[in-house]
Symmetry: D4
Subunit: 252 residues, 8 copies
Amino acid sequence: MDKDSIAEILNQVESGSLSAENAMLELKLTPFEDLGYAKVDHHRAIRQGVSEVIYGSGKTPEQICGIVASMRSAGQKTILITRLDKHSAETIQKSFLLDYRPDAKIGIIGDIPKPTGSGKILIATGGTSDINVAEEAALTAEVLGNEVFRLYDVGVSGVHRLLAFSKELMSASVIIAVAGMEGALASVIGGVADCPVIAVPTSVGYGASFGGLAALLSMLNSCASGVSVVNIDNGFGAGYLASMINHIRNTK
Amino acid sequence: MDKDSIAEILNQVESGSLSAENAMLELKLTPFEDLGYAKVDHHRAIRQGVSEVIYGSGKTPEQICGIVASMRSAGQKTILITRLDKHSAETIQKSFLLDYRPDAKIGIIGDIPKPTGSGKILIATGGTSDINVAEEAALTAEVLGNEVFRLYDVGVSGVHRLLAFSKELMSASVIIAVAGMEGALASVIGGVADCPVIAVPTSVGYGASFGGLAALLSMLNSCASGVSVVNIDNGFGAGYLASMINHIRNTK
Amino acid sequence: MDKDSIAEILNQVESGSLSAENAMLELKLTPFEDLGYAKVDHHRAIRQGVSEVIYGSGKTPEQICGIVASMRSAGQKTILITRLDKHSAETIQKSFLLDYRPDAKIGIIGDIPKPTGSGKILIATGGTSDINVAEEAALTAEVLGNEVFRLYDVGVSGVHRLLAFSKELMSASVIIAVAGMEGALASVIGGVADCPVIAVPTSVGYGASFGGLAALLSMLNSCASGVSVVNIDNGFGAGYLASMINHIRNTK
Amino acid sequence: MDKDSIAEILNQVESGSLSAENAMLELKLTPFEDLGYAKVDHHRAIRQGVSEVIYGSGKTPEQICGIVASMRSAGQKTILITRLDKHSAETIQKSFLLDYRPDAKIGIIGDIPKPTGSGKILIATGGTSDINVAEEAALTAEVLGNEVFRLYDVGVSGVHRLLAFSKELMSASVIIAVAGMEGALASVIGGVADCPVIAVPTSVGYGASFGGLAALLSMLNSCASGVSVVNIDNGFGAGYLASMINHIRNTK
Amino acid sequence: MDKDSIAEILNQVESGSLSAENAMLELKLTPFEDLGYAKVDHHRAIRQGVSEVIYGSGKTPEQICGIVASMRSAGQKTILITRLDKHSAETIQKSFLLDYRPDAKIGIIGDIPKPTGSGKILIATGGTSDINVAEEAALTAEVLGNEVFRLYDVGVSGVHRLLAFSKELMSASVIIAVAGMEGALASVIGGVADCPVIAVPTSVGYGASFGGLAALLSMLNSCASGVSVVNIDNGFGAGYLASMINHIRNTK
Amino acid sequence: MDKDSIAEILNQVESGSLSAENAMLELKLTPFEDLGYAKVDHHRAIRQGVSEVIYGSGKTPEQICGIVASMRSAGQKTILITRLDKHSAETIQKSFLLDYRPDAKIGIIGDIPKPTGSGKILIATGGTSDINVAEEAALTAEVLGNEVFRLYDVGVSGVHRLLAFSKELMSASVIIAVAGMEGALASVIGGVADCPVIAVPTSVGYGASFGGLAALLSMLNSCASGVSVVNIDNGFGAGYLASMINHIRNTK
Amino acid sequence: MDKDSIAEILNQVESGSLSAENAMLELKLTPFEDLGYAKVDHHRAIRQGVSEVIYGSGKTPEQICGIVASMRSAGQKTILITRLDKHSAETIQKSFLLDYRPDAKIGIIGDIPKPTGSGKILIATGGTSDINVAEEAALTAEVLGNEVFRLYDVGVSGVHRLLAFSKELMSASVIIAVAGMEGALASVIGGVADCPVIAVPTSVGYGASFGGLAALLSMLNSCASGVSVVNIDNGFGAGYLASMINHIRNTK
Amino acid sequence: MDKDSIAEILNQVESGSLSAENAMLELKLTPFEDLGYAKVDHHRAIRQGVSEVIYGSGKTPEQICGIVASMRSAGQKTILITRLDKHSAETIQKSFLLDYRPDAKIGIIGDIPKPTGSGKILIATGGTSDINVAEEAALTAEVLGNEVFRLYDVGVSGVHRLLAFSKELMSASVIIAVAGMEGALASVIGGVADCPVIAVPTSVGYGASFGGLAALLSMLNSCASGVSVVNIDNGFGAGYLASMINHIRNTK
């Protein structure tokens, strides 16, 4: 709960427009709506603008519908649902107009907003098998109001394929590097580009890739400056962070 | 090597002002100076501006002096040397005016530039033992032209200490969360703030902290959106990335 | 085998009411009944009172029925069966009146006793996906005679949702913190509350959560005092221990 | 910060005895004192009673002295300093009357209080090498007002040595089981006793003990009910938690 | 190839009863028959006596039948097939008289021989879920000519159940301790008995048991002397080794 | 992108036969064809000769057909498809003449070339279960123009079976040692032979083999000189590297 | 505490020669002597015969002297002290006649007994660096009454060096295989010999040997039957177990 | 022991020039000289030509001198001693003319031979800190008769520094890629070059590099074909293997 809200409530109490008891209630109830199985955070919606996110995994279609309804009635225009399986999507589509993208396992309710932000977000993958994770990142970024440039299958074992796009790499605002076995992609991009690089290890691979661990460690040890890492297969996290960086506001 | 440089060289060849053979030479020689034990990258210096960085660990004082001299003669104003032990610092101080900070193991040659960028970088630590890593991040960010707000010893086991500074957390441009045993700091900050959070796990701790592994995994699994992670104890990487984000230019 | 029992048997031998040979037999046979595939411990039942527990995983429905029958004939009023799949439950229901809770995978034979103990047990989860494990803990505690307060989906990435319930947190006798990706929950609760906190890591999550390992390590490294940890997904163990703490008798 | 405090402050604002601005200040300043390198938490002191704890590792003797002085002036009677090396202890002894126990690496300022609580805390070790960690737990419990029974070198490879003390095991209020290579101690004790058992894995051992990991995993997988685990070598944590359990107050 | 065989062949060459060329052939061909997909070792059969073993996993029923036929024609009386799934067993039963035990996943062709050896082999399990692995060990030992005493469900969380059988433990020739979560069984038995103890970790358990790793590490770190460990779930290996120890011949 | 190509393009620009703008285009487009989902590398095809490889895993049959068509129209004679499941193979066979080998999961389009190279490649396996991986290596080597000698089921627990083939081991040009549980095969072969040994750990095994990790570590720690390791189950990588070594050209 | 002892005590109580109270005392006190810091087990001494063992690591020289004195007065003839550093040995030598072997870090008080047992114990090492661990095993076995044959530096990368001693391998009663990087030694010996093989991984090596983990895993996965494993560097455990196997008595 | 030697001995026995008993002796004694602490392999020396290697780590200077003397008297011209510390080198220099290179920790006795082989061996490092390992590889290769091209500090975060040497990369016979944090070097080189690439992970780095594990995993997962891996820091192994590949003889 942020300090400004406390201050405002305190001011109302001081001015007499709010009793102490009601202040307590408000402090307790405002920030979220309690659905029993979930506590929907409307504050975040207010702070972040038009788009809100539901993490679909581990929730029943009924629970998701409940959360969507709660968000809708709180004025949310666009809602992004991640890790949504096909079966759940079809159930939700009975109640809501849902655009479902099976590769990215993403469902979108409402319109994708016009891009804003400082520049483009470039999303690169090492191989074709990393595309699902990359699409999760790409759709997330687009729903949050960003222009996205996709650059797929440019793994470092053929580094010339990557370097052929150095103009795009040099002019991006943020880059998301998605790679499995080949965690090296983040290092090479980090050395070429001079914008923040968000590395997403994927669980693609076999043997000593250990479900993405090899790519994760490789990315964490990148010698290139400006590289940070999110969880294995966390395309959503990368897209969300990229959007945040692309929308840094001047606070000076 | 970026495509624009290739294009420029090709134009010179086309116009006759550069022979093909010399073009080859230039393509090969420009980007770095070969000191034998190191290949100093002057291109990066040109791209990044006044400040350049030497990773001191694993280099002899003599090698560092050689690299400093090469950078200096290439016009570098400020040079940051990280992971610099006291003994090496004293040797370098015989040849160069070096400001040495033993806690952060950082040496600075030249002036710290005036802060530029979108806003402030807030650096928080979980405990007092994480301060060395935090200072590496803080000094790196300052040398690269950022204003830094230090918020130390605000670990989540006393979450009210952290929340007392929610105004600072809400108004930062970027936040660096440095924590050892208590990797939770990044999650809590990520939930409160709405700017990018760079998490730095530290090797502080004992037992099942496994040299920072516990904090690293905890941070990678953060439920808060907008959090990414750099390597254990990598204060420099966090400071550098934070500066990059704080200096995102509008490319539209 | 506890010393008091040995002493009692020895006294009977000394007084002549028990032969040495029979004493040996008794020492050997009393504490458990040997069903071949299992050795049912009636001593524990006597010590712990009305409720006894069967760990259902890896046992056939027939084996479970055999153990239930053995317990029943030994005077057991309430029997809790954990890790019980739906199919086994249905088989058991043909022989016994079994209340089956599919989410918690728990079956209950007999009545849930009235709550006793020092106070309430509060059970908190980081997300909705942790609820199954939390329910295993909650039902276990209720069967063992405790009042339980459920506080679900209060993960630390929205720490204000948790703090809104600080009155409940402050007044609990014991707290069980159930969390997957977000092991931080135990630390934050441990810092707010001043009662014992039992942390239960869950295998909920993906990527670098490594089946609950990340949450486990995070919880073990908690900076908050008063926090201890049970095995991943071990809701039963947490509920049992919480009940034990809530029933500490004054032995002075 | 607990809700009751907020309520009290709000009441004062409502009644006019406190301005909104001052309320904000108080909300921000009360809970801790900011020494720059550390934020000393006086609230905890008030809640927990006469004894307060400083984690000595990673702090300079000067920093520790500063924190002690701050606590003393806040009215703290007894102060426990853990992980305190001999050199730091000697420096502190120049300013404060410090009782230093080198084996446990613990320093105590002020008197050890009379034991209170429900019963005795029994502390058992597997071998002689685990005694240092056990003493950290024992002294912590004593400083926090508990009677401690030490039962050392009763590892399960000679299980009769342990069972000879079954009377003590049966009558304890809480048991702390400290063991390295032989993590089995917690399971065996957990099966004999019917009170909470806090397991402390130690880093004692070699080879495949991996610095306590083997004991940690063994303890987490204990089949005995009522067993929970703290971090490797975390004698303090075990002693603190044991004291908490031994002081559970009846809140009904 | 053992030295005695070489010596014998050399003697035949020296005496003229074998040409050098034929000697080479014999050295190459005798020890095994090459079936293409497998090289059946008849030397081992000769050394070990009446019983031979086929590791069924990863072999087709047809391959197994081929190996059985090759062994039979080489005079093998009893053949043990381990890791044999039900489907393969049924296929083999069309060609050979096979006694299939589904729990142990073992098939036996030929008669189980009369027990020989120094004494009895005792096989203990921690829980009922470990019985499958224990039966693999038990049947292996019986097929290799040993008397087996089964002692199941005597885990250390109820150590009195185990100690009630101390006479059997004290009088065994070799003991096999099979346990999953509760690797402690080997330590406790090793402390009570004074014969070799072969510890078999099982993959039974969940969470931090990591597929048997916890039990494995616990057993390797046993403080009890005379304990050694075989691979996770390797009931066959334990039974085979126990038989070897039980048949040590006096070579003095 | 290799330097010679750059030089050639520059020469054309200098001589006027190529404009700077077109040079840029060629630098960007030549090395690969962009199919959207994949960037096919025709440069590699030119360098490596008649045979080219498609990694089938994670690609749809349609994508594979697209890549095959692109390669075919670029003049590729023989195409090797690895990690190809039966279903995909059948789909591809509708469009192309594909020779599918289900054990090795390999599909071949075009003729297997006549063997060239310095000598034979010997491929040994520890057991029958390692044959699938070995066949992937063998077919890869054959498609790339090598003579292969298969030596299967010669694990070191019967080292005489291996040594019976020492003539073949001594006369090979390169040896590929494929082994699961029994990573020792590479060490023993490395000590007998004096040619390069490529070790391929397989995921065959159970328990503490940890999906091939045990074999991998064992092979990496081989005491024998001349041994190197590829990824777990990477038969293709071993066959490709063996062919490379077998075709080393004299560049002096 | 074994059942026979309980029976005897019960008989005495029944016959009146022992009161119930004194029986309790005896049950509690007999098996060990409590020195405060250690509980010396005289029962074990009686069972095992003339030689007893002290694990020196983590004990002060004074503690060791105390234990030695206690054992001596209980009639112990030979005492083996393992993991004894040079400094402690010198201190002990002031009080007792101690034969110290610095390589094996072993001290011996009293005479080494004449060999008894079924046959010889063969101890093999992979390299010269494994000799220290092997000597710990060898001296332990000798002190416990066994004839030992040392076969050092016979690693499998030169398997002919090992096979040259196949007569010794074939005729041993038990074999101890000590190896670091090269854990393969146990597999190869296990395939050649037909007696029990005790594998001792050593921490010798670097890189991916991970302090003996690679050798440990390799040995656990041995394909050879009759192989079991003790902890990394546990020469004592191997020697003790080998002696036990070599002294199996016929109990039929 | 190779089959040809056996054949030759058998022929001598057949012809009567060797008795069977003496044949046995020769089979046992020829391949190595037994120094007690080491078994020096003269067969290898004969096979490999003029240069032989001693692994210095874990051997006393006296043991090394003994082995050198044994090799010298067997006609060895050049001897390479790896992992040789400064102190041992100085001791050996008292007895032999030893050229000691402290960076590579290598000692050389005798002359470095003239280069032979198919072409050049290129050795690349990611950073300056990897040079020590690279020099171990380089000197090993030179002592074994190879021309070496050193290309240091060409890590992939500045991939243009590496590509500037693509002519050298394209024309090498074998490439050794030495890299710590930045295991990516092997992938990038493997994609550019078309000769075998031997990857050497180094333990250089910190945090999540885990002593070289990150680089090791990254290299094992390389997408580039033709890459294999040796142990962490194993410069010698890489140099030896590279020499073997560079000296492949045509056996057709």
